[in-house]
Symmetry: C2
Subunit: 107 residues, 2 copies
């Protein structure tokens, strides 16, 4: 499967920007991959999670897609997910927001 | 054309997170669309720009893809692009970083 970005999809996009000490960037990525594989991927309404490492080491971005805001909030309320989220929050400052795609441009 | 996120693409991903006063969010989006349509889209190595508005009004994210870091830097050095970038910087605080996609997850 491939993740696509499009204005035509009626979905909830969560972009979560983590600010991290470069020494901990890889550990943060491992925790995000683990949480997604073990818990989040199984939740109703999950479409995709796409983990990005900044080349300067100071950021990690999770570009995630959910069927709806309700599905995302149900996941966040799940106690197993909370355990993972706590471990991640101990390592990095998160700046999560829900977004809509307003425009896409190509050559 | 559709934007895709994949670990298989050997490209440079620029994620630029703008923090903005909600009153100016739409104006910022308009400026980004204008800069992309008038200047950036024509630059060598441009693959895509995908503008996202946070539902809470406080963020705009440009998820952009370039063939290489050099192509991106050539665009940033272009005087016409600089004019647009200055107008954008006057309206919002930018946090641009280059990224690589490390992992993608699907159900």
């Amino acid at each position: 499967m491939t993740t696509t970005i499009s204005t035509d999809q009626d979905i909830a996009t969560l972009i979560n920007v983590f600010t991290v000490n470069p020494d901990n960037q890889q550990q943060l990525i491992d925790l995000l991959d683990e949480a997604t594989t073990q818990v989040i991927r199984q939740q109703a309404g999950f479409i995709s999670a796409n983990i990005h490492a900044s080349l300067d080491g100071t950021r990690v971005v999770n570009y995630a897609q959910w069927r709806s805001r309700d599905d995302l909030e149900n996941m966040l309320a799940d106690p197993t997910a909370s355990e993972h989220i706590k471990a991640i929050a101990a390592l990095a400052a998160a700046d999560p927001h829900l977004y809509q795609v307003t425009t896409t441009h190509h050559p």
